[in-house]
């Protein structure tokens, strides 16, 4: 079937003023929401204080100033959720390109510049992450307190705050190792940098030499990412609940990142098409992207459930503590169930049929739903551990998320203008243009 759609392989993306204006509206709305959220929390009368009153702080201190809690702690937690979430999405952009290259995938050749643009955002997030750790580390991570590690005080008395379990993990849970995990982001960026360089050179030179170079780089990147993403997951999120551990956690977070990344790639492609670009991408390519989102949503559920069921069934106190904080806490119970609904039932039923994967409007709805779902996934991973009974969801969370989205879109939009939208000398481009399933 020959399609009669006219397309231009040399097209370049122009970040139009109209698009920029829309992003700035989101940014400004985000800042306004954020300011409202801060004002509500700082001057009282917000609903999370009411929650704390209603459900009681175990220490008896409630509401304002209770147990050293202030809105700044909540800000730190929210910053951390968004930074980890967007680092994942950005990293998955590079991972997507690497997988396609390592597996000699043809169908995605025409859209590979979209995920490829994501990688340029990595160093920004790396710096942000390091800054947040230096500023907010003690609030986010219990293990950063040095008093946990000394068996005796300076005067020779036994240290009442000594924590044998955390002290036993000191080889991993230390600031140096944390900085190593942040450095992973820069290593991912380095891999991206060289993949990108070769990809751009391919546009000028043609031939297959660059293709093989990218393949080698991609394979190395995937091997490195398999280990580093898992370690990063333990460090960035699992260590918040310091006493708790799960052997599934690395995969669980990776699955969450992967679905979010795929949804972001799909949405970017769809929005580019709405603006008149990427005409060569038709419903067959979207079908494949939809299949990816569908399949990895189920994969996420599998990993999530594998972690949950064993803990639920074995009922060992040190393991169940994690789920009691989330599942049996009225503050987070909604997020817990919304998480399963938006990340499993919604994409599972929404993208099940072939027609749904080929219709842009359904794809868009499901992508937004899945992205919201995985943000909630990270919310319920991080907030209960950091804020305990003081957590909440309000203007501050929405505003901060909008700011992060705005900056991300600005950066990616700008990165897309830096190179032609189609890798026109990609050896498999013909296969992609004639893709039919």
């Amino acid at each position: 079937m020959k399609s009669d759609v006219q397309y231009n392989l040399d097209e370049r993306y122009v970040f139009s003023d109209k698009a920029k204006k829309n992003v700035f509206i989101v940014l400004i709305l985000g800042i306004i929401f954020f300011a409202i959220g801060v004002a509500m929390l700082a001057f009282g009368g917000d609903h999370s204080a009411a929650h704390a009153l209603a459900y009681g702080d175990p220490t008896g201190h409630v509401g304002e100033g209770g147990h050293g809690f202030s809105w700044v702690t909540r800000l730190k937690s929210d910053l951390w959720i968004n930074t980890v979430f967007f680092t994942g999405i950005t990293m998955i952009g590079v991972f997507f390109v690497a997988i396609q290259s390592a597996a000699h995938v043809g169908w995605s050749a025409a859209l590979k510049r979209v995920p490829e643009a994501f990688g340029s955002y990595l160093p920004v997030l790396g710096v942000v992450m390091l800054a947040i750790f230096l500023w907010a580390g003690h609030d986010l991570f219990h293990w950063t307190h040095s008093y946990l590690y000394n068996e005796t005080l300076e005067n020779g008395q036994p240290n009442p705050q000594y924590d044998e379990i955390i002290a036993g993990k000191a080889g991993f849970l230390n600031p140096t190792f944390f900085i190593v995990t942040v450095c992973f982001i820069f290593v991912w960026f380095a891999f991206w940098f060289f993949i990108r360089k070769n990809s751009l050179a391919e546009d000028l030179e043609g031939g297959t030499e660059r293709f093989w170079k990218i393949k080698t780089l991609s394979t190395l990147f995937i091997i490195f990412l398999a280990i580093s993403s898992s370690i990063a997951a333990w460090m960035w999120v699992m260590s918040i609940d310091t006493h708790w551990f799960s052997t599934m956690f690395g995969w669980y977070m990776f699955a969450s990142w992967h679905v979010s990344g795929l949804a972001t790639i799909t949405l970017t492609v769809l929005f580019l098409q709405d603006q008149g670009y990427l005409k060569m991408i038709n419903e067959n390519h979207l079908h494949d992207l939809g299949k990816f989102i569908f399949a990895f949503s189920i994969f996420w559920t599998y990993v999530w459930f594998a972690q949950f069921l064993l803990i639920y069934y074995a009922n060992i106190p040190e393991e169940t503590a994690y789920f009691i904080d989330r599942f049996q806490n009225d503050l987070y119970k909604k997020a817990f169930f919304l998480n399963i609904f938006l990340n499993f039932i919604f994409p599972f039923l929404g993208l099940m049929t072939r027609d749904a994967k080929r219709k842009t409007i359904i794809l868009k709805i499901v992508c937004f739903g899945v992205l919201a779902g995985h943000w909630i996934d990270f919310y319920q991973m991080i907030t209960p551990g950091v804020l305990k009974e003081n957590g909440g969801f309000g203007f501050m969370e929405i505003g901060l998320l909008m700011i992060y989205i705005g900056v991300f879109v600005l950066w990616i939009g700008n990165a897309l203008t830096k190179a032609p939208l189609v890798a026109k000398n990609h050896p498999m481009l013909q296969e992609s243009l004639n893709h039919h399933i």
């Binding site: 079937m1 459930f305 949950f308 069921l309 639920y312 069934y313 074995a314 009922n315 099940m352 049929t353 072939r354 039919h436």
Partner: protein, 203 residues
């Protein structure tokens, strides 16, 4: 009712020729019964004007049946028939049911699909498969046109096939006996000869 079936068979060598031929033949108003190819040909099903298969819907229904049965079975056993406390959980501990429910869903969906596939392809035991040309499993693309289903005469269709560059054109008849086999014959053949009469006739 007349059970004898009469077909015209056209043999093609090249997939592009076949695709053009299909377009030409359908354009001439001839209904194509089926095309047999040794390997899948992209867009052929589109050219033949096939509607979407009902298989996915069948799969969903079989899967849903499996889910329902598994949940009913476990709730019945663990909740009503013989309630037991296991690991301090409630009688209807839904998370515990998930693995069995999942397996049962997959089992029924896959078994159901094997059966549906056999029925949909006409490969179930009592039906004698009609093999038009053995070479369709080797290197030839075989097109079958049901004469009883077309208003054009045999000669007219032959002419259309010729125009469409078919390499060989011949008539193939399936008799009443070929089309319906008695269950007894089937079983006797299966056990005495190790092969059913329908497969023998394929030669």
């Amino acid at each position: 009712m007349e059970k004898n079936k009469h077909f015209l068979v056209g043999i093609f060598d090249d997939q592009d020729e076949l695709l053009h031929a299909v377009e030409h033949i359908r354009h001439a108003g001839v209904k194509i019964h089926e095309v047999f190819t040794p390997y899948p040909i992209h867009t052929l099903e589109h050219e033949l004007g096939y509607k979407r298969s009902y298989m996915p819907r069948a799969a969903f229904l079989f899967g849903a049946t499996g889910t329902t049965l598994a949940i009913a079975m476990q709730s019945g056993m663990m909740g009503i028939d013989w309630p037991m406390i296991i690991g301090g959980k409630s009688f209807l501990a839904i998370p515990d049911f998930v693995p069995v429910t999942f397996e049962s869903t997959v089992l029924l969906a896959s078994f159901g699909m094997v059966g549906t596939f056999l029925v949909a392809c006409g490969l179930h035991p009592l039906k004698a498969p009609r093999l038009f040309d053995r070479r369709s499993t080797d290197d030839k693309l075989v097109m079958a046109i049901d004469l009883g289903n077309n208003s054009l005469s045999e000669d007219q269709i032959k002419a259309v096939l010729k125009e469409a560059h078919a390499n060989e054109i011949y008539r193939k008849d399936f008799t009443d006996e070929d089309n319906s086999e008695s269950f007894l014959t089937y079983l006797v053949d299966l056990f005495t000869k190790g092969v059913t009469s329908s497969s023998r006739k394929l030669n």
